[in-house]
């Protein structure tokens, strides 16, 4: 049972994808399989979380090969929380794509690829082996490439080429880093690496070098300051059902790997990493939010905000106290949901009005009041206004920063919050508040069926908003769990003992 619980978040999407391949000709069957897989995945990941919450870290050895030799799968609170958030997001995106994605793309394997992408997310979160982590990131990269290029319009191919080129570079850095680690320490199992780097025989300079390779690799994947430029260039090109999922979760998986490695393995030389992370976090926040301020397209503003929010997650790692890491974890969960939801809302708007340009939109407050409320909640959550979810993450990070007297980074983060409100207000003013600009009325006419579709598109947005409100208004259990997860992360002995059975 123990082994089954950890494997289920990997097996369910995999079997879903395989069954969808068997029904290659029938989109309807793929949809049914997909929804079943999503529901099962959600249930399985909740079961995993409850199990870990009761019994501590769970591990399994694939193929019964014992720990430092075989592939280990480890589920601790942090990974289980990301898996759950991923499955909630997957479900919402999935519901959205049934009506929100054109038939041609659905026929050419959208559903199997989406499930394989979720498989990659679960795998990257659950693996306890460095090379296996690399393989899961390859799975993510290939699926994102297929999804971004699916449909083959000109801007999509342009975005896909940028995305793939830079991410292949990141993958190479990752491989070099893995090579250096294996060459110096002679192991790839994360738990054994954590033991080996703490022995006096370890060579600190080489380990630092490997750590920097990992920082560059996952820095590109997570879109950290000097390496983020590919993200706003590619994330807005595919249809919204695709970019919502990719934008919501893939960069955060990079962030997950960064937090995992820099709390477990590369912790020996914190005089180097902590100032570096602090500087990177500050620049990522500021540059991202400034980039967003200069944009005039719904999706591009949101894409730049992904970069800025990554800075907050990195800030938790830079402060490196239990509270800060907990803040980071909470912020990742909050951000995955809110960002996906905002992208989905932009998709609903575009489905109704056929454009993402702020100049051409307007007057939605009168036409779609429900959507306006949903956007209002999500945007305020993103900006971090008190009762909503973003506030708690930022509050924990700021408090942790004040506790260890890192005033500069806290001030930067608070200023960036203000700028985020400015951006969200810009979208609010342009899309919802201002009078509708005069356009050709023929473009706006919707048939009865299209109106029904548009109403159905609200469903996933409402579901996501309920989850966002839940983790915002009833934050206590989520925050408590994030703190437990942070303690597990910072107390590496727990992880090492669970894997190596000492």
């Amino acid at each position: 049972m123990n082994h089954l619980l950890i494997m289920l978040p990997i097996l369910i999407p995999l079997y879903g994808a395989i069954l969808s391949l068997f029904f290659w000709r029938s989109v309807r069957a793929q949809q049914v399989i997909g929804i079943l897989a999503q529901v099962c995945l959600l249930i399985a990941s909740f079961m995993l979380l409850f199990d870990i919450n009761e019994n501590g870290i769970r591990t399994t050895q694939v193929g019964s090969w014992p720990a430092p030799f075989g592939i280990t799968l480890v589920a601790d609170l942090f990974s289980a929380m990301i898996v759950i958030t991923g499955s909630i997001t997957g479900m919402a995106v999935y519901l959205f794509s049934i009506k929100g994605l054109d038939k041609a793309r659905q026929t050419f394997g959208y559903y199997p690829v989406l499930l394989v992408l979720q498989l990659g997310v679960s795998g990257a979160c659950l693996t306890g082996d460095l090379f296996n982590l690399f393989v899961w990131f390859e799975v993510l990269l290939i699926c994102c490439f297929v999804l971004i290029a699916l449909g083959g319009t000109k801007p999509q191919l342009e975005g896909a080429i940028k995305y793939v080129t830079i991410n292949f570079l990141a993958t190479n850095f990752l491989l070099v880093g893995i090579g250096v680690v294996y060459g110096t320490l002679g192991s790839l199992n994360l738990a054994e690496l954590a033991v080996l780097v703490r022995t006096p025989a370890a060579h600190p300079a080489l380990i630092n070098m490997a750590g920097m390779f990992f920082l560059i690799a996952f820095g590109i994947k997570a879109a950290i300051f000097p390496l983020f430029f590919w993200l706003p260039a590619s994330y807005h090109t595919p249809p919204i059902a695709i970019s919502a999922f990719i934008a919501g979760i893939i960069t955060k998986v990079g962030m997950y790997a960064l937090i995992r490695l820099f709390t477990l393995v590369f912790v020996t030389d914190q005089d180097l990493t902590i100032p570096l992370f602090t500087v990177l976090a500050g620049f990522t926040m500021v540059i991202g939010v400034l980039g967003a301020a200069s944009q005039n397209d719904f999706r591009k503003i949101l894409s730049f905000h992904i970069v800025s929010q990554i800075g907050y997650m990195l800030m938790g790692l830079a402060l490196f106290t239990p509270l800060a890491i907990a803040g980071s974890i909470y912020f990742i969960i909050h951000n995955i949901m809110v960002k996906t939801n905002l992208f989905l809302i932009s998709g609903v708007v575009a489905h109704r009005h056929g454009t993402f340009a702020l100049k051409k939109l307007g007057g939605l407050y009168l036409q779609q009041p429900l959507l306006s409320v949903l956007f209002f909640i999500s945007a305020f959550s993103l900006a971090g206004i008190p009762p909503f979810s973003g506030f708690w993450g930022k509050f924990m990070l700021a408090k942790a920063g004040f506790e260890i007297d890192s005033f500069v980074i806290v001030l930067v983060s608070l200023a960036v919050s203000l700028m985020t409100i400015f951006s969200m207000t810009k979208i609010w003013n342009e899309v919802f508040w201002k009078k509708k600009p005069v356009v050709d009325p023929l473009l706006e006419v919707m048939t009865e069926q299209e109106q029904r579709h548009n109403r159905l598109l609200h469903l996933p947005v409402v579901i996501m908003t309920v989850f966002i409100l839940f983790i915002g208004l009833y934050a206590e259990p989520v925050v408590a769990m994030a703190q437990l997860a942070a303690e597990q992360l910072l107390n590496s002995e727990l992880y090492i003992n669970a894997v190596l059975k000492r």
Binding site: L21, F22, Q61, S64
Partner: protein, 180 residues
Amino acid sequence: MKTIVLATAIRILIPLFIIFSVYTLFRGHNHPGGGFIGGLIGSIAFVFHTMTHGPQHTVDTFLKLNLYGYPRQPNQSRSLYLMRMMRVNVWRRRKMARHPDMKHHMVRIESVYIIATGLFLAVTSGVLGLLSGQPFMHAYWTDFYIPVLGKPGTPILFDLGVYLLVIGVVLKITFVMSEE
């Protein structure tokens, strides 16, 4: 590229390739070989056939199933009918094909189905261990030994899955590229 030498040679080579690929597949556990390389060797046969005769001919030769059947009688139960149909298609097919009531259907095996079958076999070989309380991909071996092929066990199922997967992918690539 239709040359008579290749076209004649390929007829003898195809069974050779396939037998050798199956041999490579089964010896892979303790010697060089296995599902991936076996699948590649096996797909060479189909690639050569496509190169000489074109993709349509390859599909007609290897990837079409002839199925026979008659419509279900109104008073016949569904399960009985299904079993009848299975028997008709397995047992004494030649004779059945000449039967006047029989209808003839051609089913094309798409390469995506081969891929899916391969993936399914590979994953399921891992799940077998999981269901009996062992970790994923725990191996079960039989006690007896088959002369050329070796000891059967669940890992051979995994290799078989990889074999089918590789053949399916190569076929798909070959068909797409040769049609352009």
